[in-house]
Symmetry: C2
């Protein structure tokens, strides 16, 4: 699809793999632990693109001539605070409860990088509005789905998203971890534009 | 989940079945052909709820005491016109091409009906914004996915939705055929409220 480029996905997220597959893109997965630390004063919406660049930097030295790396980071922002992954079930309950009957933002930052150090970073924001969730519904969800690997402790494509999300404003797949249509656009631009 | 009620889905759509399953609802499928004809002067956004009521009427006589019927209809509206399913590949191409670089509405109407003729109908609207699609992308999609059973000739959950939809404003699952969180809310209301 993208000429002779070989796409490398620098992410362990099974959701991102699944999304890239559904986009019809062939890729291999290559990851390296990166410390997900960002400057305290950074605007929350700038954090994901920053972290995606950090992740790309960690893998830059492994890139071969025809390889094109995609890294991404997704955060949930509520009340101007970045919400990460829950440490345990109690924190997960509090996180989901805090999303109930409110709007929050999900921001995914993406970096595309090639072996010549040409790169582009961008991010997309999706607004998500949850209905009022009952404690029983939240407990049922946490028990059945154990969303401990997810920012904000929920997956939009899971039960809680189906019964609890009134509406979104933005890209749906962005909430799952990749702004797919923006990524498709940026990949095409990246490959047709000279540096 | 819904006390002693037995849910009956009055729809042949595999997407609706899949969505109800993901909502954790057990159900059986029961369908009867209904003529999907609506008054010409009807406001396009009122059409899906009207058609969902027609579909419910067709099945009303089959309902047993503990059964609860759910019927639905989904239409695509662009330039204030209801867009149905394409007749053939040429019409499908024109339909998708006409969605390119524009906003359109997807409206799903739902009727819930029990054996005592208690019923409720409602509908939800989702705004969908497509990026500019290339003819090559449209042809690729139609060839690979053959979306001839879908209003507007596309599925949001398919390739064209992933690479082509910039954003939506509303319920994602509504575009697939059921406004899942609204349905969950309405089912709970329906079952707790006396007539």
């Amino acid at each position: 699809m993208f000429n002779d480029k070989r796409i490398v996905l620098g992410s362990q997220s099974p959701r991102r793999s699944h999304l890239l597959e559904q986009m019809g893109i062939e890729f291999e997965i290559r990851t390296q632990d990166a410390l997900e630390i960002f400057p305290e004063a950074m605007h929350p919406e700038d954090v994901p693109a920053y972290l995606s660049r950090l992740k790309a930097k960690e893998l830059e030295s492994t890139l071969k001539a025809q390889e094109l790396l995609i890294t991404a980071d997704t955060v949930v922002i509520i009340d101007d605070q970045v919400v990460g992954k829950p440490q345990d079930a109690v924190e997960a309950f509090d996180m989901v409860k805090n999303l109930s009957n409110k709007v929050h933002k999900v921001v995914t930052g993406v970096t595309i990088l090639d072996a010549n150090s040409k790169s582009v970073s961008f991010s997309e924001t999706t607004y998500v509005i949850f209905r009022r969730l009952s404690d029983a519904d939240i407990k049922h969800y946490l028990h059945e789905y154990k969303p401990f690997d997810k920012a904000g402790a929920y997956g939009i494509q899971e039960w809680i998203g189906m019964i609890g999300i009134e509406k979104i404003d933005g890209c749906y797949y962005n909430v799952m971890g990749l702004p797919t249509s923006r990524l498709y656009l940026e990949l095409n631009k990246f490959l047709t534009k000279e540096v």
